[in-house]
Symmetry: C4
Subunit: 244 residues, 4 copies
């Protein structure tokens, strides 16, 4: 099965659906955001104006240049942290969707030296390595927000060739080959963090996914019925009708 | 009280109700599934097409041979992991319903060496022994999905004469003498896992159900008012009307 | 403020409201029950037929003798464990409402040797001592259900002069001077268990309510506006209109 | 952006919205309350009558003197603990909103010697120091409620120049420069407590916000779009329409 996104209208609807799903599944709250690379212009991306994800509608979606400059006349107030998105799209042509979240289950893995790794098959999308970025390392005492191109690029550099980067005291940024792929990864990342945490606390050891298992799973078709099944389910739960 | 299922129509409705209950009670999410042995043909089973449990309707229910071959012309896309169901029905004539779940509370017991055992009376259905299956033992690095008859049979062999089998990094497969029985067991299994985990963490010891207590409880009539009470309750909470 | 219950009709409505509240607040699920002593006959109590609390309606409320015998012709199937209620009313004239619950947060304190005690002011109703009863001590291997008068009386004996008794691998039975009082105690007991558990896990010590604080709080008027405020709130959340 | 509150009508609506938000986000349950300093009279404050926050309407909002005396003829029953609010407004002219909560996630930090500190950027509002007040220190065995001016002033003294004060076995009192500011701080305080607790349990160390980071964040404009975004979101989730 293939479901390439071709029209701008469809991409905008996908961003709305992704916002609603991530809010409903508890990955985003008042804050956090999700973008998609522009389907017609690889050097632009689509992202909501500064609004909480649960409330985002098609009319809120803006177009941005990779340096965070909004397109169009009289743009509304954008998210301060839009630089995250542009910097990742700039560094990684293979990535077509970016999510920034403060999910509480992931937070403990940003604060100490316990390594986050995939232990559940559905969470294999995070890959073998999940690096941790601390804005204080290169920018000193800030408000912790990724507020300019330099900070965005520093984060993207830490992400490297991986799928997810943790952010100390702040949350994570995750990515996908498609927006459906990105949403699926972001939904299961906090669940995997919770399961790993509980397993570690019980003290009976932990058997993570093997590098070989992760390698097999990374090739799962992002348009397969199994992936589309979840997109349909999450969208309908969130009260929106998805493209399938 | 007895409530033998006799018609195909009634069995199909039971599968729909079971899907909705397990979704609503948090045992199944986008993934996981529940089947019932065909009421008229012991060598077939009824299972939804590849759809998230909360969305399953009567028209989604398909018939399968025990080897996973769908019956009927132009069958829709089935679940990849349907082989779990057929292999269990093949090996265990006493089992009439099978559930496959990724419930997060159970997951930590699939990842380390802490033994899952019943500590709450309502969770006695899991029985004295809950074996743990690791697909890697006999099949090496896979995508962890039970994707063919050989893998299904290997899982069923590990289940043996027990009621539930854990699956490393994946979840569990549980069973029942009836579909109501199976749903009840699957609802309380994650709750028991959570309670056991918290008890172990507190470090004050744990007193599980005794073998004698489990033996007494295993004989509870699957059609008793106490069991039917739960089925009625869970179904109405999930917004569906059950047969009683 | 005083709100003595005088009519049978009002008591029946209170039992319905209590069922709905306890279901909605997560204290009762498919199982568990709540009764009130008969307002006109101290040797009888009012309790639903065998039905899940969230579904209980006025027409489900039955009258029982203290030995568990239902009154009226052609009584419907009662709860197996109704003997808990009668035995407590028999032993304790000061008690006018009894609740039996399987709340998961409390369960770990029934399984090991960690003592449950009040640490939050709103949970002082459990009192200084919360005894633990194990049906196995005097009755050997059973299905763990309190299924006859002897078992009920053994439980009531363990309760003694206290407010709450834990039941190993099963849950708890709690009581109140009024039904509002009993519901409030049962709502906060699991919350206190959770808080105590988390405090113990952090390893920084725990400062429980002092005997003097418990003694001051035990005298709070069960008809005060603070108590009625909670009853109104919980009832409206559960979708029922309470007497105030 | 600036959004100074000017009218009494608008302030009353803000208090209603704050009650609904804090109930819906799980910060307040049957108990707890939120007030705002009177917009026209700095020596008065606005607070609901004794009612659960989820049910509060404009007609429930009362005016109080700083000593807790209600204004107007025939005032309804007020909250027992209104003295908390007056004492904080009296001691701290910079504070314009006060919240008193029993949120369970925070409770463990009131019971032992584990220090609560900000680890998430969105929770920086609690500041560097979060003092712990124990009513028993100066008032002996009480019902733990702040029931008079002396107890309120003792609590305010412990708060000192900080933003939040913990209350042993009881909960916390938090404050804000504006009511939006106060609500945001109270929503994220329990979340930060949960994350800190889980991080500590994992045993891999913890890297809190630095004093410098807290200092940068404390200057965030309380009327900025980022803060208003959350207010809009929380209000709409709670079913009320906010002033923006």
């Amino acid at each position: 099965m293939s479901r390439p996104v071709v029209s701008l209208e469809q991409s905008i609807h996908d961003v709305v659906v992704a916002n609603r799903i991530l809010a409903h599944e508890g990955v985003l709250d008042a804050y956090g955001h999700v973008s998609v690379r522009h389907p017609l212009h690889a050097d632009r991306y689509l992202l909501s104006r500064s609004r909480s994800p649960e409330l985002v509608e098609a009319g809120d979606i803006m177009e941005f240049m990779l340096d965070g400059t909004p397109l169009g006349e009289h743009p509304p107030a954008p998210y301060v942290e839009r630089y995250i998105h542009g910097a990742v799209y700039e560094a990684r042509p293979d990535i077509h969707s970016v999510i920034h979240s403060h999910a509480l289950e992931v937070m403990p893995f940003t604060l100490g030296n316990i390594k986050l790794q995939p232990v559940m098959h559905v969470a294999s999308d995070m890959g073998l390595e999940v690096p941790l970025w601390d804005i204080r390392d290169n920018f000193g005492d800030t408000n912790l927000l990724v507020s300019n191109v330099a900070q965005g690029r520093d984060l993207a550099k830490c992400l490297g060739a991986n799928k997810v980067v943790l952010m100390r005291g702040h949350g994570f940024t995750s990515t996908g080959r498609t927006i459906v792929d990105a949403v699926k990864a972001a939904v299961y990342l906090p669940q995997n963090a919770r399961v790993l945490k509980e397993t570690l606390l019980m003290g009976g050891g932990v058997k993570p996914l093997s590098p070989g298992e992760i390698a097999v799973r990374v090739n799962i078709d992002p348009y397969s019925p199994q992936v589309q099944r979840a997109w349909e389910y999450w969208a309908l739960r969130a009260g929106v009708k998805p493209y399938l």
